[in-house]
Symmetry: C2
Subunit: 204 residues, 2 copies
């Protein structure tokens, strides 16, 4: 069993969306061995690092993260090599690829979530989102900290989330090649969560 780790390290120095300081996690030591055991706390924005968005993130009546069926977060997965796409992934970039019903589709682009935030990251155009929704995929993931770029109407998110297709953002896909794998990226069971940080892996 070969395991590919898709999650960047969570630290106070990690890359965050639009470099917003409020999105940077805080890790605080609360106890040390001298007092008995080493213990600490993590204060984290749910959309920091590798994470998964629930429908409630952009939809008023959308499901929250703890309400979604767990089988949406694990299963057969296909990594698509879209590293040559310059701006946005459109239907025309996807329509010739072998995407099957219930696939967890991972969009490997020229992005890398572990580097400094790049405001010109490659994103999923609404035409690409509509195509993936029409294929009845289980979930989608991308290697940028957002799946859309500066769209105040959040069309890419809405098209997917209206179909209860969870969106993984901030995955590091730089070390995996196009092909089929088994994916795991279970969310924490956060009450009323609009998202959750995840440890995501591919297994072969």
């Amino acid at each position: 069993m070969k395991i590919y780790d898709l999650s960047p390290e969570i630290s106070e120095q990690m890359a965050v969306y639009k470099n917003k300081s409020e999105k940077r996690p805080k890790i605080k030591v609360t106890r040390t061995l001298k007092e008995g055991t080493n213990e600490s706390k993590l204060d984290i924005e749910l959309h920091t690092g590798s994470h998964v968005d629930a429908p409630y993130h952009t939809l008023k009546f959308g499901n929250t993260i703890e309400k979604l069926s767990l089988d949406k977060f694990m299963g057969n997965s296909i990594v698509l090599d879209l590293t040559k796409v310059k701006d946005s992934i459109r239907q025309s970039n996807l329509s010739k690829l072998r995407i099957k019903k219930n696939d967890i589709v991972l969009l490997k682009t020229k992005n890398n979530p572990d580097k400094n935030f790049n405001p010109d990251f490659t994103y999923l155009h609404k035409s690409g989102a509509a195509y993936l929704a029409s294929k009845k995929i289980k979930a989608v993931g991308i290697d940028s900290l957002g799946i859309e770029r500066n769209d105040p109407s959040h069309e890419t998110h809405n098209i997917l989330l209206r179909k209860n297709i969870p969106i993984f953002e901030g995955l590091d896909l730089s070390k995996v090649k196009q092909g089929n794998y088994f994916f795991h990226g279970l969310p924490l069971k956060i009450k009323n969560g609009d998202a959750s940080p995840v440890r995501a892996v591919l297994v072969r």
Copy 2:
């Protein structure tokens, strides 16, 4: 594929170890749909709810959570029904059970991490820990919020963690029966983490 969810919900009302208020998570809404999207933050003690302890929790030179091989957190698992054990699980409770090398061993007791904290929870005695370590298991889990009870020397933890055997605590095993499953409980990749909250599941 049947998935059994082993993680209690994370909320401000959840049961926490010794009912310590500082161990209770805080969930704070940071943005709402009116401002664009629903977003929130989670401030959580790493040992709250279902979580996994790294060697550094009790050992000065122990590995931190992000340093452990990911294969320790997923694999073949055996649930052992120890619901008749009253106080602590000793070698004598385990020695007749079919525990194999590299198993992820889950100790199902009369505890339930989702109910109010019970200070008299069933725990793993150091003789049980030494037996499990001698069987070269991959990881161990229990349905109490601690695997030992009021032992200032942390012998049960130390015996396991010295062998780099991660310890899952706070698992809800009330809905699974004794038997073999596949387990997943990947930690967040927290820099220098002494533990991590997890979403743990059994799959059959």
